[in-house]
């Protein structure tokens, strides 16, 4: 039984280490910020979960394994929050993922923002795609002599 637990925890630890390598390789080599964020998520959730559960199997039913579980819970909460804040901040700065219609992103982004941040977001939007120049001629006035000629 002890040997079984040992082997299981070794497998968990080693696969966690390998996943951390995969994740770091993705962060190093992927071409775009949002793809790198996707790759960093691998370590934050699965890599940490595997390594910590391997350690928990080694610790047994003790206070230490409870602390390790607490570490995992904390990581799962904080890294998702940090990734959300990072993505929002990057989008507000005008960095958009490739292959996605920027209008969709902007519409979702500027919805729940307070005024000053919304202004900054609008400025960033104009920097990425300058708006069409406004028309100089005034809108056509309704004629005084009744309806249009084709009526």
């Amino acid at each position: 039984m002890s040997l079984l637990l040992d082997v299981l925890s070794w497998v968990l630890l080693l696969s966690g280490g390998l996943l951390s390598i995969v994740s770091a390789f993705g962060v190093l080599r992927l071409p775009e910020l949002f793809q790198r964020m996707h790759s960093a998520t691998i370590l934050d959730t699965l890599g940490a979960g595997l390594v910590l559960s391997g350690l928990i199997l080694q610790a047994g039913f003790t206070v230490i394994s409870f602390k390790l579980f607490l570490v995992f819970l904390l990581l799962a909460l904080t890294t998702t929050t940090a990734a959300h804040a990072l993505a929002k901040s990057a989008l507000a700065d005008g960095i958009y993922p490739k292959g996605i219609d920027p209008e969709v992103v902007r519409a979702g982004l500027s919805e729940g923002l307070p005024g000053r941040q919304r202004i900054a977001t609008d400025r960033a939007r104009e920097r990425v795609a300058p708006p069409a120049s406004p028309q100089e001629d005034p809108p056509p006035q309704p004629s005084e002599e009744g309806g249009p000629p084709w009526a």
Partner: protein, 98 residues
């Protein structure tokens, strides 16, 4: 076995550091530093088991909290800085225009 895991984590931390040094935007750097903090937490846990000093798991717990706080603080700083620059530019353009 702990040593092998610690070695893999060290390799991953090195690759993450390269990204943090090379990252084109500030957000790449923040992402890399955040991931470095996560792997440091894992590293501390593994090393505490490797040397049978299991009190070090408390350090891992505290480090996870501090790393999160640092990331959020730096992100807020960058955001406020960006916001202020945009506001200043808008003010300048308003002065230039009639």
């Amino acid at each position: 076995m702990y040593a092998a895991t610690a070695l893999l984590l060290l390799l991953a931390m090195g690759m993450t550091l390269v990204r943090a040094l090379r990252g084109p935007t500030v957000f790449d750097r923040i992402l890399a530093v955040n991931m470095f903090g996560t792997s440091t937490v894992l590293m501390v846990s593994v090393v505490s088991f490797m040397h049978h000093v299991t009190d070090m798991t408390d350090i891992a717990l505290i480090y996870a909290l501090l790393s999160f706080t640092g990331t959020i603080a730096v992100l807020r700083f960058v955001e406020i800085d960006h916001e202020r620059r945009e506001m200043e530019r808008a003010e300048q353009e308003r002065e230039v225009l009639p």
